[in-house]
Amino acid sequence: MHRLLSPNLRWLRWTVGALLLALFPVFVREPYYITLAVNLAITLMLTLSLNFVVGTSGQWSFAHAAFFGVGAYVPGVLASRFGLDGWLGLPVSVASTSVLATVVGLPIVRLRGYYLAVCTLALGFLAEIIVRQAVDLTGGGYGIQQIPPLLIAGYRLQGGSYYLLALAALLASSLLLDNVKGSTMGHAIIATRDNPIAAASCGINVGRVKLTAFVITAGLAALAGWVHTFYYLALNPSLLASDLTFLWYFMVFIGGLGSVPGVVIGTALLSIAPEFLGMATHNQVLAFGLLMLGVALFAPRGIGGALTGLLQTGRLLAAERSAK
């Protein structure tokens, strides 16, 4: 659980980290690496929010790609078909996805285990089907191209400048999740996960807390979708594919469910390695699946668990040494 460190120290860490990361496009100019970095930022937003809903709040959500896709499509369609400015598309995207998540989530939060998994999986499939079929609105299987880009004072956001936007979105997401975990609401979410009966006896409205966690996750997925739309300036229904959700789940699990550093490292490794190995998407998913099975069998706490284990061993050794 989150312990409030000296607050000044925490602010310092975040600010320094943000500044360091922001310097990236100063040193790296090639579009290939910039795209890699933007993709990584987007994927991190998705895996961190998935880690939150599954790890911190204890609920399945196999509809993650659906919320990502809706968050991507809404501003894209509005910009391309109805001329809505991309910036205004941001609150519209997050708000509409959150409303959708609330409506869909209200009946869902009562479910648990396999039933919740199956239901959210079904929702994910349903969303993809609907987007593919509503051809007039979404362009069906072909999607939408040539979405008008984001502008700042007439200056088009792309490449290195877009990276900064993506980074800002990532930092905002992470900070939000970190803050929530350390707040009363976050404590309530964790308590609900651990023991809903006990949580109710503390005055916690378990249903509302679960729904809130679910909706926050959907909103963050939508944010990632918005970032994706205005970088690629195109939409296609494979953004809602359940395969994507599985990919993110594997990343989260290999990184270590519940461990933020683990998930960050896991996501980074699993996003970048296939690029450098030149793997096609199918082989990527296959490799992740195999890796996932290996981790499940031999190291179920993932990379994060291994890190914690190392830390503990280190502490024990240090304690022994100082005792001598």
């Binding site: 659980m1 803050n179 009363t184 609401m185 009966i197 006990a198 949580a199 006896s201 005055g203």
Partner: protein, 255 residues
Amino acid sequence: MTEPTLRVEQLTKRFGGLLAVDSISFDVGEGEICAVIGPNGAGKTTLFNIIAGERKPDAGRVRLQDEDITGFADYDVARRGIGRSFQLVHLFESMSVAENVLLGAEDHRQLRMLSAATHLGGHRRRLEIARAQADEVLALVGIKHLTDRPIGSLSFGQQRLVGAARALASRPRLLLLDEPAAGLSRGELEVLRAAILRVRSRPTSILIVEHNVEFVLSLCDRGIVMNFGRKIAEGTPDEIRHSEAVLEVYLGRKH
């Protein structure tokens, strides 16, 4: 005379054809320790669960001082000022003792999303107030020395005390204890007795449902005895010990 902390009026609950709680009425006064005893299947647990908001009664009323809380949901009952412990303890496994108790102290009535996301808007102040309340309660129950221990390392009796501390952290007017003595050693029973007496002096009213008649009669101010869903005796511990109805039930003696 001031309003009693808890007033139960004609409470009735049926399960199919079985009358689990049959028109039970009693009061718990301010700062009073009241016991509910009776053999297995007497309906004590059902009565307890109705008061705690886990079940809705078929008839009757439950009043918390001047408020009618009949049929309120469990979290709502907790918010109005009734804290409860569990027979199976039900602690938050991933947290330490202090964190468990903190959760009882925190105010969960409003979500306060914006404050949670930004840590602004009085967030720090509220957390400090809750921490102070939790600390106080840890000392009151006598488990301050266990503050940072993970739940898994505690004995059963210690876990029970943590559960009670968590229930008390929100400063409820009424504390419900569900078989607190079950499974405790002699030493642990003494610790529990002392803790209950300290709690009462706050003042907090306490309602104990308990199987261990000896333990609870030595502790309470008044009590009621249930059998087959009905109240068969009521009064001070002495009155109960000498009540014919009670003797008949527990000893099978006929007069």
